[in-house]
């Protein structure tokens, strides 16, 4: 794996998005800042319902909302962009001999960095609103790696299937939209019927969203055993998918 080249792809991705724009990378922070403010202040402070068992007081629901939406956004957009990654990069792939892994892996890294930036803003805002923060923040890097690894694996399945069926791009859009409402992000897990609570055990998104809630909303340490399971699962899954990728490389290269 050529790390220098990988880093180039990551940088290229950011500069592609914001180059030629007067404010440049400022937009990278401005949009999420506004989004976080709206969620925390409007939904939390003004019209938000009270959240039981939280120490964050008035902003409780806003904090709850944002701490779920930020990781989910990174997760979902990683999957969406992974699905089309080989097609988006076909101009390069059809001319330069590059490994498919290298091209694919820059997406979760880019989205992971974006997530780190938005979470950083979120933390700053929490400080400004004097919402108490906990030592659980230290577990964030590991949590981000886990969720991006999982998004990478799921997205790579989409990317391989894309070769056989172009509709996958649209299907991924629909599935992630439905999926969003299956995860307790907007609502709390206690407020839904029992069967909805039961299926969360099989919902990979809930496995990590739950831990973000622990850290930001409840000011608690995340369940490290849980995170380790998540990590082991993601690594195993990524390994399997990469094996699948090496077996479909021939078809993918022919198709693009």
């Amino acid at each position: 794996m050529n790390l220098a080249l990988l880093w180039h792809f990551v940088r290229q991705d950011f500069s592609d998005r914001y180059s030629g724009v007067a404010l440049g990378r400022g937009w990278l922070l401005l949009t999420p800042m506004l989004q976080i403010l709206i969620f925390v202040v409007i939904f939390g402070g003004l019209i938000g319902p009270r959240l039981p068992g939280t120490q964050s007081g008035t902003y409780g629901y806003g904090i709850y909302l944002v701490s779920g939406i930020l990781p989910w956004t990174a997760f979902a957009s990683t999957i969406a962009r992974m699905t089309t990654v080989f097609f988006d990069k076909r101009a390069i792939l059809s001319k330069v001999p590059l490994s498919l892994n290298l091209i694919a892996i820059h997406i979760p890294i880019v989205e992971g960095i974006t997530l780190i930036c938005t979470l950083g803003l979120f933390i700053l805002l929490s400080l400004a609103l004097s919402v108490p923060l906990s030592a659980g923040l230290l577990a964030l890097p590991l949590l981000i790696i886990c969720q991006q690894l999982m998004a990478f694996s799921i997205g790579l399945i989409g990317a391989i299937l894309m070769v056989f069926l172009r509709d996958i791009r649209e299907m991924v859009g629909v599935v992630t939209m439905l999926w969003f409402w299956m995860v307790p992000i907007v609502y709390t897990i206690d407020s839904v019927p029992h069967f909805m609570q039961a299926i969360q055990a099989f919902n990979p998104a809930w496995w990590f969203v739950r831990e973000y809630h622990q850290i930001f909303v409840y000011g608690a340490m995340p369940d490290m055993g849980n995170i380790m399971q998540l990590l082991a699962g993601s690594v195993l899954m990524a390994g399997g998918i990469l094996w699948l990728l090496s077996h479909s490389e021939h078809q993918i290269r022919d198709a693009i």
Partner: protein, 411 residues
């Protein structure tokens, strides 16, 4: 360097994209297979240049992609030793918003250069591209020639073991093209191997050591560049069915004999029965530069023909085209009665540099030999330009300058 071992490549043509999925599920064949490359072998050693020529769709691009490794062969294997850089991806991955200088790093990394190499070569790349201060402007402000210059410069500095060149030498202006050509020759002299794909037959003849002709995915000819180019011309003239197997064609006699002429091809309605070249002063096929020479052709027709064109082409010993024209361009159409024989002379001042030359002649219709070719004779005659009938000069052609003192200012 490059070993391509009995490689075949099929493309699966699906009429609908969903057929791929249906095929996977129902295990029923829903595609047509198109053979792009069939059983091709190449062994390219260090310091060698192999030319690949062929018509559009003959499989040249597929072959290059296989060598580059951007697609994988269905049968056979491709083995490379060392870094292979393709000039076919000139400018791939340039970010138009970044400056040329910043783009060097990414593009060079794409070509496999390490960061240390990039840092070391950066200035050389900038210098070679001759972009000057413009290197610090965004690439979107570059002309296509400037972009190409930068891209070529990066590619050649990537220090590859082997270059894959695809029609990319039409980079920039004549000055830069010469510079590229020079650099490529240096690269070869330094032990680099080159796989060269071009429609520029002259470039193939000048640059390549060997050449192969591809047709419908197969190697139909492999040999010296000159033979390959002749074979290719024959191919595009669509005369394969009368084309005899082309063996070594050594130009020999000043007077073309029967076997020489029998080697030609064409419909034969009108044919060249004999040819001879004589210098007016020397009386032989060896004459001085600037001397007038007579090329006499003995032509015969089996039936009455109107507006027949006699064309000829003089090539030097490297196979470069030096001069060629035909009676159509010169406004002298030939017509024949059935069974008539015509002796026809073309007289020219041989303003050529010293060296060995050959003359290829053809009888055809209108201005080119591609539609109706009656008789084509490669290397029909050979002659030599030796010494000078006027003042000494260097180079390929005699330009006869005139010298004048225009004004003199007293000191």
């Amino acid at each position: 360097m490059i070993r391509v071992d009995h490689v075949s490549k099929y493309y699966r043509i699906y009429l609908r994209h969903s057929d791929r999925l249906r095929e996977l599920i129902f295990r029923r064949k829903l595609h047509e297979e198109k053979l792009a490359i069939q059983d091709i072998s190449i062994n390219l050693e260090a310091g060698q240049v192999l030319g690949v020529i062929g018509r559009n769709g003959a499989g040249k691009s597929t072959l290059l992609k296989l060598v580059m490794g951007v697609i994988l062969p269905d049968q056979g294997s491709v083995t490379l030793s060392g870094r292979v850089t393709g000039l076919l991806e000139l400018g791939t991955g340039f970010n138009p918003e970044l400056t040329g200088y910043d783009n060097i790093a990414f593009n060079a990394a794409l070509l496999g250069m390490t960061q240390a190499e990039v840092a070391q070569q950066r200035q050389a790349i900038v210098d070679f591209s001759e972009l000057g201060d413009v290197i610090h402007h965004p690439v979107r402000t570059y002309s296509s020639g400037m972009t190409m210059r930068l891209a070529f410069s990066i590619a050649i500095h990537a220090n590859p073991k082997c270059l894959v060149v695809d029609e990319a030498l039409s980079v920039g202006d004549a000055h830069f093209q010469q510079k590229c050509m020079k650099r490529i020759k240096e690269f070869r002299a330094g032990g680099g191997a080159i796989l060269f794909v071009s429609h520029d037959m002259n470039a193939v003849k000048v640059l390549c050591d060997t050449a192969m002709v591809l047709e419908e995915g197969k190697t139909v000819f492999s040999g010296t560049p000159e033979e390959a180019v002749n074979y290719y011309y024959r191919l595009i003239a669509d005369l394969d069915e009368v084309a005899p197997s082309l063996q070594h064609q050594q130009p020999q006699a000043p007077v073309a004999n029967d076997t020489e002429i029998a080697r030609g091809y064409g419909s034969g309605v009108v044919s060249i029965r004999g040819a001879k070249v004589t210098g007016q002063i020397s009386g032989s096929q060896i004459f001085a530069s600037g001397e007038v020479a007579d090329f006499v052709f003995d032509l015969a027709a089996t039936r009455a023909m109107q507006s027949v064109t006699l064309g000829f082409l003089i090539r030097d010993r490297l196979g470069q085209d030096i001069y060629g024209t035909n009676t159509y361009f010169l406004g002298y159409p030939l017509s024949f009665e059935a069974g008539e024989r015509i002796s026809f002379s073309i007289r020219m001042a041989m303003n050529l540099g010293p060296g060995l030359y050959t003359l290829t002649a053809a009888l055809h219709d209108k201005d080119n030999h591609l539609t109706d070719c009656y008789h084509w004779c490669d290397n029909l005659l050979q002659f030599e330009v030796a010494g000078y009938s006027g003042p000494h000069f260097d180079g390929l052609c005699r330009l006869e300058p005139s010298l004048h003192k225009i004004a003199v200012t007293a000191p």
